[in-house]
Amino acid sequence: MVHYTQVSRRSFLRGAGIVAGSAALAACTSKAKQTAAATSSATSPASAAGSSSGAAPSTVAASSSGVASASAASIKGGTLTVMCPSGEISSEQIGLFTAAYPELKLNLINYDTTRLNAMIAAGTPPDLVRDAGTDVTPYIATRGLALDLDPYFAKSTVIQESDILPINDVWKWDGKVQGQGPRYGMAKDWSQDAMWWYNPAAWQAAGITEPDPATPVTYDQLLEWAPKLTKSSNGKTSVYGLFTTAPSHDFISAMVATAGGKILSDDLLTADFTSPEAQQALTWLVNAAKAKVGYSAVNPSPDWDGPEYLAGHQVSADAGYWFGGYLDTNNAKLEATTKFAAAPLLGTTRVSPSFGAVGYWIPAKAKNPDASFAFMEWYCGGEGARARAAAGDGLPALKSMLPLLPQQTAFQQQTYQVQQAELPYLKVLALASPYALGSAIDTAIAKVFPSAVTGSTTVAQLGDKMTSAANAVLAQGKKAAGG
């Protein structure tokens, strides 16, 4: 099922308390946010670019609250079981929702794949499941697990079709191509997750020229800088110069995309890690792990980039726009010494994908789909989304909310600018297959990775092994789907 352990991102809400599950979720094989979307039309980047800059502040504010009560009238009351990482939805938000929909109660259960599997298999699934659209849509749609939401979107008075940003297309699947077909879910927010954040003071202290946020650096440059920024003695490292790296297929796909390559085949049935671009990416990953300049598959992080950056154990973090909101919530003081930068390049093509479009989907067997959708539209496109957008917890799913993004402080202005500049390079990559979940592929390829770091396998051999491991998983998935 949705073994999506790598959270695409966690939007930490203002004043959120314990985020146990979320942080735990982040400590996973691949990068905390990397799951790429499947192939999509070339129209998305263009329209995304167009829409973001031309977003007109609408009267969404006024209409949404009024609308909420209108649709509330037709919904059956009851309890909605929402599966999401614990702490992600704050009690504030719960209060706001139940105020808007008094006949509904929210029961939050911690995101747990085992539990989710079992619930679905037992026929009593949660009413909403939080997941990364880029990762799970083909899988859940193909297996008939997710509800086709087009009829609900059509009826919705909170969300206008024209207002939905194209990134939400990753939640579409037509049986063959991700990005087309009916909608199975919606993003609650999104970011371009290959971007990164860094602490310029560390560069100054090490006597290296700071990167220019507007110009994408190359991965090689990152690796060059990392040893100079890393502090270690006698086997113990106190500061890492590079963010957490991991051989996850989406991160690798993102890297090779900047070199014009791809990992998953067009029919989403096979993967290829042997192409020259893939080899380049793998070489970089192996070297990064060998150099011990950051957490990696052979040196797992105790949590994820966020807390490590906050604690000063890392001088950079690999995250999208939402990280700004995270910093704001958890340690606003660090904003003075943090800058947001464009996604790095492996090759020469500037591509900045999104690994998540994290949002919600509704299981096909949900007992009260109208109520489920009411929550979805409220949280992802209604009042629930507004506060998060204003806090900078990721880019909103709706065009009309883009102006809500914070631009008061110098930090917020810097991040907003960089984000704006990055939008034209948004590209939805082919990363999700209906035959296997990203996490399954990642587990398989992560197994063969350590031997390359120790040197007993060459990068070429690694490419072969990863290819056959990934293909085995995909083939098994095809068999399980009855193929």
Binding site: I18, A20, G21, S86, I109, T114, R115, A122, G123, S238
Partner: protein, 299 residues
Amino acid sequence: MTTPGVLPPPADTATPVAQQRGGRPHVRRLRQRPRALFIVLLVISIAMMLPLLILLITSVTPGAQLDADRWVPAVFRWSNYRDALTGIPFWHYARDSLFLSVVYAGLTTLSSALVGYGFARLRGPGKNLLFGVLIAMMIVPQIVTLIPTYLLFSRVHLVGTYWPWFIWGSAGAPYAIFLYRQFFSSFPRELEEAAEIDGAGRLRTFLTIFLPLSRPLLVTAFVLAFNATWGDYIAPTLFLNQNNTTLAAGLASGYFSSQNIPEPTVLAAGTFLYIIPVVVLFLLAQRHYVRGFINSGLK
């Protein structure tokens, strides 16, 4: 040959025979043995307790000083314990864990005694086969039966409740059943016959005669079952919700500061609190616990 004039002490299996004799050629070596043994046991005991000591030290270390190069922190942050109690719904989880553990242990102790008695003293067709099944059940890993069991329970809408534990408890625990069976086997037939003659039914015989005799074993079975539930975290993760799960599952999620940074020192404090009941229970029940094993007819 004993030394004339010295009566051999009463049969004491704890002391080696040679020592009892007090034979001259070995006197000095034997008297040194307890001392050497004492030192050996002391060293081993300290080694065994060391990790717990480290846990304790970590639990009072201020978070920031965790990587200082010191064995003991400069300042003791006892407030870690307060944070441990407030960082997660500690009392809530503890109360739930206690309830589940006690109920499960109580149910299983009695049920296992019942079943163990059946296997020990009664006859029926297929008994040996069933006993074989019992032994085989000791081999099955919990996780194997867990998922299908979940499917079963969710069909009858019992997930999120404590019913699975009530039912598991009522079914008895294979290891405990085995111990009881061994124990009850060792009694002479006359015990039942006498009760029969007085007109007692099977159940009454069991309840009034055999069960009370097995008191130490009751303690042993209870403690084992209590520990099993207190320490189990996969079943609560699967079957329970955030608001009624156990301490094992709750602790496992860890503690995080308001900045969402993991707090291993507070976690150490929480862990220390978590193990206290188990240790206390053992200390209190030690005598009976040990006797329970002795009495289960270790032959």
